[in-house]
Symmetry: C2
Subunit: 221 residues, 2 copies
């Protein structure tokens, strides 16, 4: 279960270029006022400045975690849920590191979080390019699309759970946890996964409600 | 449990320099005929050529794995054992990637594995410098010493298990698995851990026996 396939699950390495120049023009449209190329550069610089480890290590460590959860929970739906919960706890913590290190512009709208998550955070932590897409007309939902997934390299999901397990569901939790810390309560879920043969990976992020910022009583702002 | 401490567990970043030049002179002594600086360069080049992700990601993912094992096994001794077992399975696979990508010289002796593991593999997968030390007089044991441990960043081990848990025990399994694939059956175990207040991390590697290489029958060598 979750044995390495011997080959990388994705042969496309385009997403991992360290160059931030290959920005498609349509990506600049719903950018919430951001300069998309500048965001990609911010992410890349934070990635390069940070401490790095080999992607193999995280892929194999993550694989061990998923395998362990399967031993514990067995039902793939429960594994999905548990991965999301673990990711949520990671997201709650990771956001501090993100805000401290990324120098990304603040997310003044839910729409803006799409750009920051996709262009800066994915690049900063995973070294891959992601892009926001499929914005709902009322701006209460968007998708994060990405073609390269370091967690899923070497992975072969057993046939029995291939259509029920969302192998990389930890990402959904990380996004939910991190966005909650910047006052957006969301639900995030995979809708496409290249491990299932889809042409790209897609995480759908839906706004549930904006949280009220609680201002400490001893501060005037 | 295993909450991030807010600060990095180790403030020393010296081990993570991307320069391969700061090789101490005493390190060149028991080098099994290798040029130590060249080995470090091989490791660094393989690290840079490989795909990388942020160290935070692997630290938090690994933390989630350890936490999950605690939920399952509770006794820290059992968690140590399980981490070692998981690492062993990773080591069995990782060695193929290592041999394919590292271009490291072959390990013709057990003593030589010390140099390769410390100088090349640690740098290639973790981006950190490690060094072999404390060779047994009969060359059936050595230690791997390292000062920076990406797995242990952000980690605070709860007091109750601080002296029984070897938090990063997965490394011992990886070393055992990888060396078994190059015909050395070993036992590896932590003897010092900076998480316990030790001045460096030390993994002791003891040779149990050399395995016989099985030559496929249809090949003449």
């Amino acid at each position: 279960m979750f044995e390495p396939s011997g080959e990388r699950a994705s042969t496309s390495q385009s997403g991992r270029s360290s160059s931030a120049t290959s920005v498609k023009t349509q990506d600049t449209l719903p950018s919430a006022g951001f300069n998309v190329a500048a965001l990609a550069k911010i992410g890349e610089q934070a990635f390069q400045r940070g401490e790095l480890v080999s992607a193999e290590l995280v892929a194999l460590t993550y694989g061990a975690l998923v395998r362990q959860l399967f031993l514990d929970y067995q039902a793939p739906e429960d594994v999905n849920e548990e991965l999301e919960r673990i990711g949520y706890n990671i997201g709650l913590r990771l956001v501090d590191d993100f805000l401290a290190r990324s120098a990304a512009p603040p997310c003044r709208s839910f729409q803006a979080t799409a750009e920051i998550v996709a262009r800066v955070a994915f690049r900063m932590y995973l070294g891959v390019s992601a892009r926001p897409a499929n914005f709902a007309a009322d701006n209460t939902a968007y998708s994060i699309l990405f073609d390269t997934n370091p967690l899923a390299e070497f992975v072969e999901v057993p046939d029995a759970v291939a259509n029920t397990l969302w192998y990389s569901n930890i990402f959904c939790g990380v996004i939910r946890g991190a966005l909650e810390m910047v006052q957006f309560s969301v639900r995030a879920s995979f809708t496409r996964d290249m491990l299932r043969g889809d042409e790209c990976n897609e995480i759908r992020v839906c706004l549930l409600r904006e949280l009220e910022e609680t201002v400490p009583l001893d501060k005037e702002t």
